[in-house]
Symmetry: C2
Subunit: 509 residues, 2 copies
């Protein structure tokens, strides 16, 4: 059987641009994993991998114009957004280099012997070691930041783990270009190029998760695809951690007082957030609880105006376009669902933004309306009008897990009067990031960031953005009564590497 | 159908002591989980839960004599060992109270807005919140330390999670007594007694892992039982973390130089470690690589002498005794396997310790001898005689994951000469705890402890002993642009609770 070709496709026309590669055979997947595994020793030195990450960032910055051009041709996301996304990606690589330098992620803990403990404590010295080869499944919607050189790859390399990337079929040409830059950066530091593997094809992705030398996986994508891979990871003879970011509705609660105070501002802000990137953000607000009555009506009016003014856009591929159109149509035909601005086709390749409204009470119990509590990828949101706070709370209590939950408060509520503090506590069980008076689109790269949440937002308690993303690729090991002469430098009493640590119970910077 | 009775059985006679309870029905499991879930708010205050943990420890200490008597009657582990295990258990509860007080486990990270970042960073404040109800599956072999009030329960309560324990059928009467002490301690602090649920019966354990309000599970037991529960946890509509400690061979490598220097000391130490608690430790050394030749012969001779002198002992139950006798017989009948001291039946209820020897080359490739690379619970170990280091290394490379790996070195090797440092690095991939010149039995409760290892030692990268065991029951949440007036005290700029944290990138004690 001839190898299946991998085509780069222009979503603005639906036309094939070029053949980029062929789908990887089982043998090629095996080769990529073995090459990555063989490269792991070259990542052992923290100074080397920090330098590698910085070279990778510099290489991507230097190749910017060509990369953005290819990315735009394959994704239609536009040069401005893609230039920004690339900058974010290289910033992230450099941030992880800083995290490697600091070494706090090693979680060093040293306990000297203590005969007064029950039972007595021997000499114990713990830190974290890399898990091994990490499989990274790229996202469609962030061709740079959640793809070949994205957060999963950056954090895995920072942890000392080689990576084999399953390229997303929406940007195979870009994937090849970025992988080349990373490999060149590796070679600069004497790291075998196999440290970054790249495979194309659905079967290759399935093969990757089952490979005995793959030790963990990161994934960004759909609930269906992610769950299938999660299940495969759990069913292995030796199960492995699967850190998947699958789907999220990202609910927004607008209080009565907030609507009264800022109806137009909120309506306009929502329009901007839900249409950003043609609605193709995993943190797009997909369900907005708005009070019934006049203030809520004003909010919906301003949302209507702003969304009507939004240009049609091209989705990442035609399958997504079909799914979007079908998903919108299926939702819109439910009784009592209105569409003040109807989302739909915008010409042969584009789609136009819109939103639906529904009485919140329709969402209060299991039934056909549960469809409105499922993510619909693309520029559409659902505005649920609630009669009172209990109704809104009932809807929130029915939601599956989310990446984000947002509350729009009045100035009084934000100042701690009224129910502000309770609302924050009530939203906390729903999500991994809780926002006040903002919009969830835009995920900053920062030490405190948490981009994850209860299932199906993620399949683990981890984050795929921010400094702590590195924790996913490590496991602890403790040495008992190992003589100083045999210990890694990280664990020696005199702390020659100046690592932050816990020493005899006390935290030391 | 009448409810199935739960009997307390004396393993020294095989006779039923008393009926303790009945197996929980599905409705009773549901009630226990709902009661635990309803109690979670009462654990929200860290001061309250630290006080609860200390009261639980004090209550157990006060009830010591009765508890030890019941434990001994059900497990035959002996009053001395059980008194020590109870002391360890209350020490552990108090240690977790200290961990709660300190609050480092909250992992507080605060980032002020930063417009110079790419993209700009908003105000982000992260900490960790409890996952919810934790299901704890008790172990047979540690009726105190890995059971109702053991490490899983202590760490879950410390994290703010209510617990429902599946009692182990080997000590149901003790389980009831300990649960009562914990509930009394809870009541002292205004915490509903439902914060500690206790259910008996196999079906109850299966029901527990599938309950929608169970948010995570801890398990200590066999590979078969643990894997079945792991699979069930992963197959739920909403999968949950399953932290299982399943099985471990705990290999020991004795170098040629170590044998030459300390043959008798090593043989005697091994005998003590493998027969401790009648060989019923998850960290019992189950495979010992000993050089062929004279020094190794001396080691085997001293092991023979010491094991021959060991008294027969009673295993935890008769099923284990049957499995032990069958497992030993199956191993002993392999060609080239000798038993210098034959393990076997010691009277009607007890067993006698012994060990097997085998040429290491028999273990170098897949085949019938793989049985020797599986844990055999009870007082037996396998001594594999290796011709050269490569042969030993080949055997080590074939092992599944382990809780511990041990190397016995000569004084020269321990001082860093010869292959000491490389051997330590070679053993690291095998286990979560690597020991030098010691024995793996005995797991200290300490900040640096790591009791876990690659699968099947554990089903996750976590530990069930030591301070970081608390991490299993938490998930991060970040607040974005939440006004100071709405923030939990843990996340405020002025740090009113004095928590260690990362503040604008810098670690603060």
């Amino acid at each position: 059987m001839a190898a299946a070709p991998v085509w780069s496709v222009d979503p603005r026309t639906g036309k094939q641009r070029e053949q980029v590669a062929v789908e990887a055979t089982a043998e090629e997947v095996d080769e990529a994993v073995r090459a990555a595994h063989a490269a792991r020793g070259a990542l052992a030195d923290r100074a080397v991998r920090a330098a590698f990450l910085r070279s990778a960032a510099a290489g991507l910055d230097a190749a910017r114009d060509g990369l953005v051009e290819t990315a735009d041709a394959e994704t239609a996301l536009g040069p401005a957004r893609l230039t920004g996304e690339l900058a974010r990606t290289t910033y992230q690589l450099r941030s992880f280099a800083g995290i490697v330098d600091e070494g706090a992620f090693l979680d060093v803990v040293v306990d000297h012997p203590d005969d007064t403990a029950t039972p007595p404590v021997p000499d114990l010295r713990r830190y974290k070691v890399p898990l091994g080869v990490v499989a990274v499944y790229s996202a469609s919607n962030f061709p740079f930041a959640f793809s070949v050189a994205g957060g999963d790859t950056a954090s895995a390399l920072a942890a000392g783990c080689p990576v084999v990337v399953k390229a997303h079929p929406d940007h195979p040409a870009l994937s090849e270009l970025v992988a080349k830059v990373l490999r060149r950066a590796a070679a600069e530091h004497g790291i075998p190029e196999g440290v970054i593997g790249l495979v194309h094809g659905f079967e290759a992705g399935v093969g990757l998760i089952g490979h005995p030398l793959v030790a963990a996986a990161g994934f960004t994508g759909s609930v269906r695809g992610g769950r299938a891979l999660f299940d495969a990871a759990a069913a292995r003879p030796v199960p492995i951690p699967f850190h998947g970011e699958l789907g999220s509705l990202n609910p927004v609660l607008v209080t009565e007082a907030a609507a009264a105070e800022r109806a137009e501002e909120i309506g306009g802000g929502l329009a901007g957030s839900m249409t950003l990137g043609v609605g193709q953000f995993c943190v797009k607000p997909g369900l907005v609880l708005v009070p019934s009555g006049g203030a809520g009506d004003r909010l919906v009016k301003s949302l209507t105006d702003a969304v009507s003014d939004t240009d049609a856009g091209v989705l990442l591929d035609h399958r997504m376009r079909d799914n979007f159109l079908a998903g919108v149509a299926e939702r819109a035909q439910l009784p009592d669902v209105d569409s003040p601005v109807t989302p739909g086709a915008g010409g042969e390749h584009a789609v136009s933004a819109g939103f639906l409204t529904v009485p919140a009470q329709r969402l209060a119990a299991e039934g056909a309306y549960d469809l409105l509590l499922e993510e619909c990828f693309g520029p559409v949101t659902v505005v649920a009008r609630y009669a009172d706070e209990d109704e809104a709370r009932t809807v929130l209590s029915r939601l599956p897990g989310n990446l984000t939950a947002t509350v729009q408060l009045s100035s009084d509520e934000a100042a701690g009067r009224g129910r502000g503090p309770e609302l924050l506590a009530e939203l906390t069980p729903l999500a991994g990031r809780v926002l006040v008076n903002g919009w969830p689109t835009g995920v900053a790269v920062a030490p405190a960031q948490h981009h994850g949440g209860p299932y199906p937002a993620t399949t683990s308690t981890s984050t795929s953005v921010g400094g702590t993303a590195i924790e996913r690729w490590l496991r602890p090991v403790v040495y008992q009564n190992a003589p100083e002469a045999l210990l890694p430098a990280e664990l020696r009493d005199d702390n020659p590497l100046g690592l932050p640590r816990r020493f005899n119970g006390a935290l030391q910077r």
